[in-house]
Every structure is written in structure tokens, then in C-alpha cells.
């Protein structure tokens, strides 16, 4: 049982974080809170990917010596899987880009309605 938990808990925590973010995104009335929830949500996905990459007994995905490795056979299980790291670099970039656009739109909304609360915006629309 303990083994089962230790083997999985990382995935579960990611789910918890994702739920927190998703809850903030769909329930919170304040738009900045929604953006914060969005940030948490995306970070949790990154956490999931990085958990996929980790390898017991593996070291960083950077070769220990730079030169003279051309003819050496390298043991793949000694290094952490680098692919999810690459994907997540891209995902972080997307996160920042989305953050910028969302904040820009938020400022436009505030300029129009003078508030950031969703219910007040809906009230002022009518």
C-alpha cells in the first residue's frame, strides 16, 4: 500500500493542483483570480509532464563530459528522459504568452466597465 502511494502520489498532487486551478477558473468571479487560476492550472500540467520524465537513479540530462564521448556507448538509463523537459519549455512559453494576452484583455475590460468583478460587468452590460 505504501509502495503504491509512493509510486503515484506525484500524479495525485498534480491532479489536486489542477483541480484548484480549474475551480478558480470556473468559479471565481474576479477576473484576475481567473488568470491566477489559469496559471496554476498550466503549471500543474507541467508538473505532470516533469513527473513523467523523472527516473530513479538518473542524473540531469546533460552529459558529464563534453568532449571525447563520440565513441563511448552511453547508458540511457543513467540520464533523465529529456523529451518532456523540452515539451514543457514550450508549454511555459505558451503560458507566458497567454498571460500577457489575458492581462491585456483584462485592462481593456477595466477600461470599459471600471470593475473586474464578473457579476458587475454583466450588470453593466445591460
Amino acid at each position: 500500500m505504501i509502495d503504491f502511494i509512493i509510486e503515484r502520489y506525484n500524479f495525485w498532487i498534480y491532479v489536486i493542483l489542477m483541480m484548484i486551478g480549474l475551480y478558480a477558473m470556473i468559479t471565481k468571479r474576479n477576473l484576475v483570480k481567473k488568470v491566477i487560476g489559469m496559471n496554476i492550472f498550466q503549471t500543474s500540467i507541467i508538473l505532470f509532464f516533469i513527473s513523467l520524465a523523472s527516473k530513479r537513479g538518473g542524473t540531469l540530462p546533460i552529459m558529464k563530459q563534453a568532449h571525447g564521448l563520440e565513441n563511448f556507448p552511453v547508458d540511457p538509463s543513467a540520464y533523465i528522459n529529456p523529451v518532456p523537459h523540452v515539451l514543457m519549455l514550450t508549454a511555459i512559453v505558451v503560458m507566458v504568452a497567454t498571460l500577457g494576452v489575458a492581462l491585456a484583455i483584462l485592462i481593456l475590460i477595466y477600461r470599459k466597465y471600471g470593475t473586474l468583478e464578473e457579476d458587475e460587468i454583466l450588470k453593466r452590460m445591460q
Partner: protein
């Protein structure tokens, strides 16, 4: 991966996330989101993802928090929930 660190930091991360979405002052929420990013960065160094940690560190410390604060300056700091 160092399981002991992993567990502790995961707990920190969850605490920070919950606080960031429950606190009513948006500036505080944003600063706590910065702390959340610290812990995420720590988590990733702990799992060996140095590049991702590096990116997270530079993004959160360099740009993310400041963009939020700039946006809050242009809008408002109050929040109902």
C-alpha cells in the same frame, strides 16, 4: 528525485496555490503566486529538470510577477472573492 524533498515541497505548493486563490487582496495573491513559482522551480530542480527550473525561475522572477503588478496598477487591487 529525492522523495523526502518532493513530498515537503509538494505540500508547500498546494498551500501556496490555495492561498493564492483565496486571499482577497490581489496584490497579495500575485506575490503568493511568485512564491508558488519558487516552489515549482524547487520541485523541478529536485526532479532533475534543470532547464525547466531555469525557465521557471527567470520567467517568474523576471517577468510574470511584474506583468501582474503592472496590470493591477492599471486596474484595481480589490477583489470580492
Amino acid at each position: 528525485m529525492i522523495i523526502l524533498f518532493d513530498l515537503i515541497i509538494l505540500i508547500f505548493v498546494v498551500i501556496c496555490a490555495v492561498t493564492a486563490i483565496t486571499v482577497k487582496d490581489l496584490l497579495s495573491a500575485v506575490m503568493i503566486l511568485g512564491a508558488y513559482s519558487f516552489f515549482m522551480c524547487l520541485l523541478w530542480t529536485e526532479m532533475g529538470a534543470v532547464d525547466v527550473a531555469f525557465t521557471e525561475a527567470s520567467v517568474s522572477a523576471g517577468i510574470g510577477t511584474i506583468l501582474f503588478i503592472a496590470a493591477i496598477i492599471k486596474t484595481t487591487r480589490r477583489s470580492k472573492d
